[in-house]
Symmetry: C2
Subunit: 175 residues, 2 copies
């Protein structure tokens, strides 16, 4: 009981993580900020991340881009972007996932990934795909996906640049 | 000499195939017509083919969609659409290729593919990717790509729908 109470107090002392799926004008700059903070992405990659938000703001869900923003005390800490793969019956891509550098390691990425998969399942999706790089820089990222149930299904050699393959991960949803 | 003369006459008697890389308003409907004529594509696939033309007309080469139209006597017989894969150094996708049903088998598809690859090489591309379905309906298409030097590098099981895998073909360009 004491332990349980202790955990409860400990939890109550931390503000809860809240999720939001609507997209606002300011998310464009927020996404730029979060993605940049990770130190992982090149300027052309950051530009693409922002472009997906802008496209969603411009034409709504017809863009095919769904978002989940995770926040705490009104501050957005990370987000995911996913959507149906055109011309497929039930394949979804998780296009982007990022958590502010100083907030990493607290389970926010895992929560975002699980919520994205649940949403994909609710939309009728059966397969979730994530593409990433074979480079050592992405080693922790790949292990994270594997830990979350993803399997490397295909590798396209030298896809990104010489020595930088594309690895395609897949996870079956709701089966 | 006689044989050569004979060939020349035979060639002269057929109008030459001309290529065009500019994109015009009417290409939107032309592409719909050509793609529909093949009998290969579903309405949602045809809509995507047309969408690529519209996007190119809307924002130009910033769309990332390059086109080659093959025509004879002023009539467009087929086309290809290709472009750089975002976030890669020198990978290109051949997004679409179609030849009017009644003009197939005359080498127009091969000419379009070779011209697309040459253009990719001129743009600095080193790898040309084509994605297609594993279904029997696409057997001749896959053999055509293989005949043109493409190699099936990866297969994503059940990507399009149950029993319908995505096969990713690749060809090294200018190496």
């Amino acid at each position: 009981m004491a332990e349980k109470k202790g955990r409860t107090i400990s939890r109550a002392s931390r503000p809860a993580v809240t999720l939001r799926t609507t997209v606002r004008q300011e998310d464009s700059e927020l996404v730029r900020e979060i993605v940049t903070s990770t130190g992982f992405f090149r300027p052309d990659e950051i530009a693409i991340a922002v472009e997906l938000v802008d496209e969603r703001l411009r034409i709504g869900l017809a863009s095919g881009y769904h978002f989940i923003f995770a926040g705490k005390s009104g501050r957005v800490l990370g987000y995911s972007c996913y959507g149906p793969v055109p011309l497929t019956l039930h394949s979804y891509d998780i296009y982007w996932m990022a958590v502010r550098k100083e907030e990493q390691g607290a389970g926010i990425g895992k929560m975002l990934l699980e919520r994205s998969e649940a949403a994909i399942g609710e939309l009728g999706g059966r397969r979730s795909y994530i593409e990433t790089s074979s480079k050592e820089l992405y080693g922790a990222t790949r292990r994270f996906y594997e830990h979350c149930g993803y399997r490397a299904e295909a590798t396209l050699r030298e896809f990104y640049s010489p020595g930088d393959d594309k690895v395609i991960y897949v996870k079956a949803i709701g089966q």
